[in-house]
Symmetry: C2
DNA sequence: AACGTTTAGCTAAACGTTTAGATGAGAGTG
DNA sequence: CACTCTCATCTAAACGTTTAGCTAAACGTT
């Protein structure tokens, strides 16, 4: 592949002039400019981003760490981030850790070695997380996305999961259901914990005790939820309504109940959370809590780029953006 | 961020020794090695991949161009590729073009400027595609994934879409259906065209004329398929069976028929194609044609890395891998 | 003692850019 | 005409690595 030196030679100018034409950083006469452009095309020259970044110490690369693209919750977020990155001339480096600590570390090292200009991180929800510590030590501009450690100081774009829990639970309460189950991923996962907390708050406010035997944890997985509720249905002891911590689990729960001969929403009402693309297309369109996922990605990237461009990234105050959800009423809850 | 020079200073050795320790390329005495490691940790030194790649002219970066991660068909492929890449010490740079020519060009330029060691390309299905021409000109090791231009010479990993069409159609024929509709994306999209061709071959072999008024095109989109078939259902003139070019459209078709009061599979049998994750979890588990998507990603990356490592990439013969599908019989077709 | 051999560790030249500062041709001024 | 200014263009020094080739100490051989 041709280098700038060769282009300069062919155009009978200095490398500085070629550089000036490419970046149009300083004035170059039309004649030389023409010659340079000619030479670039002739040689199919393409600037070497490595050399460029090495000298200028900015790569126009952004890292994005998330747990699993296979989960339909994420691609939209990535898309939002990608769209603003592209517009601003950045490329995004997506890596998925599957919530595996070792993988996260490997990828993080790799991103830092590639000198990304900033990181979008969707895998950290503890202050003690090694990923977070490493990132702080490396002083990379940083935005936490979707998950975050309580009390974290720094740019953060997240969803108001407590509000989501309240919204879903209140909706079910308003439809007259009292015996409402909750299904989460686990108490360890912040988003799940907060959705549960919202559910508990709403129940408390309504003066209804939480039926603890109907609070279950299924790893945010369709399969696990299916198994859990199939088992539950077999006992005959089922709740009148379920708030599922995500749509995937809601699908699993509905499938389990259907397979056991229950009717949805007549026998059991189900409300999901996330409003993934498929939820509106499910045969029983799912009532669920909608989050602006694309928006979350977009805002995250904007914030990150702002942080990168801010003169001294150190003491610039950081933003905490919390996106509000809204309820999407469809068929699975038995409203209308 | 600390440089190798600073590490060398602190460890009282030369940069060459530091380099040797990091890459353990030549023998270094235990004593010096110890001092170097100490210094690296003390300074939190991290090799600069830019400088390293600039000198060694390999980046250990792979590009992956595909149309749209939001389509559940793709994430699994990416995962397969990522897994082998990680194992081989490569990072994958995913970019989505949304089948927009301009975006493809922008991203491609960006990847080439970043000097990726090779490219996985899932967006090219014409020999005249500018992307393909640019890639050939740049002489980057290359594997075409999923889509490919007829007659293309070079590494390719694809699905046998014709076999898929035959499989699906034969299954419906074997269940006694004769009036079988086909829904594709468009004749312009190779995968869709081939699935259609498979369908036509199977019909021909069975001696049944293709009902051309039941051959429709819906851009591989759930919505479009829904609208198209809702309209069709309203006319009262509906086929007894449908082979949908992908699962998403199958879902749309089923939803359309249900909303018009038809029963699936009793009134209309539906077979999809792709077997995306959700198809088995649909309330009417979808009969569909399964492809090994993860495998496709895995094989693609393996082939690419092989090509990168092959001594003279020019005349090394290229592989054409075509993955065979198999039918997954579930509920939507009315078998058993 | 003189020689060659081995080898741990070093020096310095790349890799392909960016960019501060040098150069020198023209134009403008008194 | 001598002077300064302006400004298009160039020269050369980085950026942080890798690596070919060198140095010199230590050892073995005769």
């Amino acid at each position: 592949m041709a280098t700038m030196r060769e282009v300069a030679q062919l155009a009978r100018v200095s490398v500085a002039t070629v550089s000036a034409v490419i970046n149009n950083s300083t004035f170059v006469s039309d004649e030389l400019k023409e010659r340079v452009i000619q030479a670039i095309q002739e040689l199919d020259y393409r600037p070497n981003a490595l050399a460029r970044s090495l000298k200028s110490s900015r790569t126009r690369l952004l890292g994005f760490m998330l747990s699993n693209i296979t989960n339909p919750f994420y691609p939209e977020i990535v898309l939002g981030a990608e769209d603003v990155a592209r517009k601003e001339g950045y490329n995004i480096f997506v890596c998925t850790t599957d919530d595996d600590e070792e993988r996260a570390q490997t990828y993080l090292d790799s991103m830092l070695e590639h000198r990304v200009d900033g990181m979008l991180v969707g895998t950290v929800d503890e202050l003690s997380d090694p990923t977070l510590r490493k990132l702080k030590a490396a002083q990379v501009p940083l935005v936490l996305v979707n998950r975050w450690p309580e009390g974290y100081k720094g740019n953060t774009v997240v969803l108001d999961n407590i509000a989501a829990g309240i919204l879903a639970t209140n909706h079910l309460l308003s439809l007259g259901y009292r015996e409402i189950a909750f299904v989460g991923a686990s108490r360890k996962i912040m988003t799940s914990r907060q959705r549960e907390d919202g559910y508990r708050q709403a129940m408390k406010l309504a003066g209804i005790p939480v039926p603890e035997h109907f609070v279950r944890y299924c790893d945010y997985s369709e399969e696990r939820a299916y198994e859990e509720f199939r088992r539950m249905a077999k006992t005959g002891r089922v709740p009148r309504a379920v708030f599922a911590g995500n749509d995937l689990m809601a699908f699993g729960i509905i499938r389990a109940f259907l397979d056991e001969g229950f009717k949805i929403p007549e026998d059991v009402a189900v409300v999901g959370c996330d409003d993934i693309a498929f939820s509106s297309k499910f045969f029983i369109p799912l009532t669920t809590v909608h989050f602006h996922k694309y928006e979350m990605g977009k805002l995250s990237a904007e914030l990150l780029i702002k942080a990168i461009n801010s003169p001294d990234s150190e003491d610039s105050q950081s933003d905490f953006i919390q996106l509000k959800p809204h309820l999407v009423v469809r068929k699975s809850c038995g409203a209308n």
